[in-house]
């Protein structure tokens, strides 16, 4: 079982609120990722990080921001939530030192903006 944790699991929030989705991993992985997934659909990469102080935007444009101050922590922030942000957000990590290794995923945060 992967040691990567996301909180909260479920979040219902009003439009305009600022929210932060937490993600932590205890595997010492350098690489971390955020994916957005609508129900039954594929995962879309929105942010990733190669290590501390590294953040990059993914393939899917997102209004969210991320930070990587510590290796184990990769929070995602929405400054002003909108109903279009309603989705599932999945955090993942992988061993950046090894070529072609799988990513380990957290349980996800299901966000609903009303």
């Amino acid at each position: 079982e992967a040691d990567i944790y996301q909180t909260p699991r479920y979040l219902v929030i009003g439009t305009g609120k600022k929210i932060t989705l937490e993600c932590s991993q205890t595997m010492g992985h350098d690489k971390m990722y955020w994916y957005q997934q609508d129900p039954g659909m594929e995962l879309h990469l929105i942010h990733y990080s190669y290590g501390v102080n590294s953040t990059e935007k993914g393939d899917l444009s997102s209004e969210s921001t991320v930070s990587r101050i510590r290796t184990e922590h990769f929070p995602l922030t929405l400054e002003s939530a909108r109903p279009s942000h309603t989705s599932q957000y999945l955090c993942a990590s992988s061993d950046g030192g090894a070529p072609n290794t799988e990513a380990f995923f957290g349980q996800g945060t299901r966000l609903t903006v009303v």
């Binding site: 999945l90 993942a92 992988s94 070529p99 072609n100 990513a103 995923f105």
Partner: protein, 115 residues
């Protein structure tokens, strides 16, 4: 852009039968492929992977086949069990230093197990 897609959104099989889930990819430069299983309310879980220099790889009850000529990937699950019910995603990676930054996911196939 390049994408990975699955042929069927839903696959229904009888318990005990073998399941075959197919995937077509379009990037001939991809060198690493992964199958993930995602159960309801959970994050994707790694099942099996295969590198482009292989055409078959076996795990416990699962086999992945890679046909680079037609850019086709399949996942075979032997003796399907109720616990196999999930959405299965294939993903491809164009090597860029490892990890999942190059992973492109398909839309997923929902495997339904009939009793």
């Amino acid at each position: 852009g390049e994408s990975v897609g699955l042929h069927l959104p839903t696959l229904s099989v009888q318990e005990g039968d073998n399941s075959i889930i197919n995937c077509a990819y379009s990037n001939s430069a991809s060198d690493y492929f992964i199958w993930y299983k995602q159960e309801s309310g959970k994050g994707p879980q790694f099942i099996i992977d295969i590198r482009s220099n292989m055409d078959k790889r076996q795990g416990q009850r699962v086999t992945v086949l890679l046909n680079k000529t037609v850019k086709h990937l399949s996942l075979q699950i032997a003796a399907t069990q109720p616990g196999d019910s999930a959405v299965y995603f294939c993903a491809e990676n164009l090597y860029s230093g490892g990890g999942a930054d190059g992973l492109t996911f398909g839309k997923g196939t929902h495997l339904i197990i009939q009793p």
